[in-house]
């Protein structure tokens, strides 16, 4: 099946070359889908409908199937993230050590629930199901850098300072 003109990605976007390389490495077989989605999300930060249409067309998969896979797995995002991302681990050890309290504080202080991005696009809050640093619980990750073993007071101060709005 030839690639349809309207679903072909912009040829001058180098990020697509990276994604193409992943698909080619796996011979554009249907099982390349999840690896390709990872590559696309790494390149663009999220997966929009145009990106998904390009991928479906290149792997010769029905768009519905691609969308079904994207929505099945928690890791894939359909919306862009804010300038900064705060990930709060909600694994068992982090739950026992009070990360639910941290999420409640974030809701009060920044009016954000997990999955939300602030209206000024500054901060996205995400919940992660265990990053495997359980021995350092409770754990949170401002822009991917792991912070652990902090009391509630220390943790909130770190987040306020990181966002540059300490009272």
């Amino acid at each position: 099946m030839p690639v349809n003109e309207s679903t072909a990605p912009p040829a001058d976007d180098t990020r697509w070359q990276l994604i193409d390389r992943v698909m080619q490495r796996l011979d554009r077989r249907p099982d390349a889908l999840i690896e390709t989605l990872h590559a696309a999300q790494d390149a663009f930060g999220y997966l929009d409908s145009t990106t998904l249409a390009h991928i479906a067309s290149r792997l010769r998969l029905p768009p519905a199937k691609v969308f079904g896979v994207v929505t099945f797995y928690n890791h894939f995002r359909l919306k862009p993230k804010g300038e900064h991302t705060l990930a709060v681990c909600t694994g068992t050890a982090c739950h026992l050590k009070g990360n639910d309290k941290m999420l409640a504080w974030l809701r009060d202080r920044y009016h954000l629930a997990p999955g939300d991005t602030s209206p000024d696009n500054r901060l996205s809050l995400v919940e992660v199901r265990c990053v495997g640093a359980c021995a350092l619980a409770p754990v949170f990750l401002p822009d991917g850098a792991l912070v652990g073993k902090k009391s509630f007071g220390e943790a909130t101060a770190i987040i306020e300072e990181w966002l540059g709005d300490a009272p």
Partner: protein, 538 residues
């Protein structure tokens, strides 16, 4: 690359290492943040004293005691320092060959280290995970060479059967039996999969093994592929473990360059290629048939078993699936013999097991102990007990699929059978210590919320049952539950356990059932008094 070349390369690397009078090993796992800054500071301190030719600063894998990390180990002398910061670098380098830095010193006889029995973790924290030469110099890939040069596939399978090794992913199926089934299966194509989708929230054994000794997992997989006749393999790892993925990619590349993977491995007639597949955040993909669906690029929805993957797995071909820790156990078994392994542990649970100690315990971290050790020894001797003057209430094993073992059973020897009898499971090795400040209802509701969200939705008992159990547990948490709710909770747990398609649903009621068994009073205390007859129900 042939045996002699590998031996020469290992010897050459060992000579280089022996040329340094002091080795400073810095834990560079996820559990020791800031390790890069510490390594840089140590290297600067070494350069300032112009000791570059005598002191080697290296990154190493996890040393286990995450609670007191970052840990730095000085060799020779086995001097371990705790909670090291970059500012400590000058003092550490100045003390080399002199008195150790007392304020950072970990007591050398600390039971945390002294009481462990390291087998899978033997090289963890002792070698650079990003150097194949380090692994080779430590005797790595020796077991593979033994297999390729002197054992037939059937001999390898028999040896694993004789060792008594059982799957370390949770279910405890005899590994040798699984290998024998795949080896006997007919078909030109067979596959090999490593299950690194460590989904239990509260467990990190596999992450640490992949980060610390990725080549040991590869070596176990290559031996397994040879034994069962597979020529293509996949390692399925969680995307939430970026460091493990990075080190694994590097290890595969280095193994390919050294002809330990690829065509005609080490001059034998045996070929194997290995590829990584990233998980994407779905707990159900730890279930073997869901994992296969995911490797095939689809939604991770379990298939009915039988047929088991050993007969009909990836793309309908016979497929061997083992967990990370199971593969990491293979090289030591080949090296030391099946009898050595079978002598460790209990009658039916052989060898050692890695546990992740977390929750309300002083020495949180990663430990490896012989099967049959008591929970008390793990928690109080090795783990240092419960901090802040609190008392132990329960130990949770097996995560969302396991149960809560109350303090009364602390003297139980840890084995697949004993934990099952107590209403829990060995699971993959997460051990979460709960003190009296936590409500069991809260813990159980947390696990049920997890299972509800992670249910794939294919079968009704799991999809609807976990949601209803969660709703009932919420009523208990809010002290609104009635006697009818309790009866419904027990009946639903029974239904979901027996009618669900896969392990996720079948085991989801376990935390509820075990707490109903041991902590029933907490449920009863949260019920509203029965309404008198005749009153209108709201």
């Amino acid at each position: 690359m042939h045996r002699e070349e590998l031996a020469a390369r290992a010897a050459e690397h060992q000579r280089r290492l022996d040329g340094f009078a002091h080795h400073i090993l810095v834990c560079a796992g996820l559990g020791c943040p800031d390790n890069e800054a510490i390594i840089a500071a140590l290297r600067r301190a070494v350069a300032e004293r112009q000791m570059e030719n005598r002191v080697l600063v290296r990154k190493a894998g996890c040393m286990g005691l995450c609670a007191l990390g970052p840990i730095v180990l000085i060799q020779p002398g086995e001097i371990a320092y705790q909670t090291v910061r970059p500012d400590d670098a000058a003092a550490i380098v100045a003390s080399l060959g002199q008195e150790p830095v007392q304020r950072l010193l970990l007591p050398p006889d600390l039971p945390f280290f002294a009481r462990q029995h390291k087998n899978v973790l033997a090289l963890s924290g002792r070698i650079d995970p990003e150097s194949i030469d380090d692994y080779l110099a430590a005797g790595g890939y020796g077991a593979l060479l033994t297999v390729l040069t002197g054992m037939r596939p059937v001999d390898v399978v028999r040896s694993i059967q004789e060792s008594g090794l059982r799957g370390r992913g949770g279910a405890g199926y005899p590994t040798g039996l699984k290998w024998a089934t795949v080896a006997k299966a007919t078909g030109d194509r067979k596959y090999l999969i490593c299950n690194g989708d460590e989904g239990d929230p509260g467990a990190f054994m596999d992450r640490s093994i992949l980060e610390s000794t990725p080549h040991a997992v590869l070596e176990g997989m290559i031996i397994a592929a040879y034994a069962v006749g597979a020529s293509q393999g996949y390692i399925y790892v969680r995307a939430e473990y970026p460091l493990a993925v990075k080190r694994l990619r590097l290890a595969i590349r280095e193994a390919e360059r050294s002809n330990l993977l690829g065509r005609a491995i080490c001059g034998s007639g045996f070929d194997l290629t290995l590829q990584i597949r990233l998980g994407a955040g779905a707990f159900v993909c730890g279930e073997e048939t869901a994992l296969i669906e995911s490797v095939e690029g689809r939604r991770g929805i379990p298939r009915p078993r039988p047929p088991y993957p050993a007969e009909k797995g990836l793309w309908g071909c016979p497929t061997l699936i083992n967990n990370v820790e199971t593969y990491a156990n293979i090289p030591p078994i080949v090296r030391n013999g099946a009898a050595w392994f079978a002598a460790l542990g209990t009658d039916r649970s052989k060898g050692t097991k890695v546990f992740a100690l977390t929750g309300k315990i002083r020495h949180t971290g990663l430990v490896e102990v012989p099967m049959g050790i008591s929970l008390r020894e793990i928690i109080f001797d090795i783990g240092g007990g419960i901090p802040d003057g609190h008392a132990l209430k329960a130990v949770q094993t097996g995560g969302p699929s396991g149960g809560c073992i109350p303090a009364d059973f602390l003297d139980t020897p840890v084995s697949y059978e004993s934990l099952h009898e107590l209403g829990s499971i060995m699971g993959s090795g997460g051990m979460i210590v709960i003190d009296e400040t936590s409500s069991m209802i809260d813990v159980v509701r947390y696990f049920m919320e997890f299972c509800m969200e992670e249910s794939c939705g294919k079968c009704v008992p799991c999809r609807a049952g976990t949601a209803q159990i969660h709703r009932l547990l919420t009523r208990f948490q809010e002290r609104r539950a009635t006697a009818a709710d309790l009866a419904m909770l027990e009946s639903l747990c029974d239904l979901v356990k027996h009618a669900s398609l896969c392990g996720l649903g079948q085991s989801a009621p376990n935390p509820v059932l075990s707490t109903l068994r041991y902590f029933r009073q907490e449920y009863l205390d949260r019920m509203v008094p029965a309404e008198p007859d005749g009153e209108v129900q709201p």
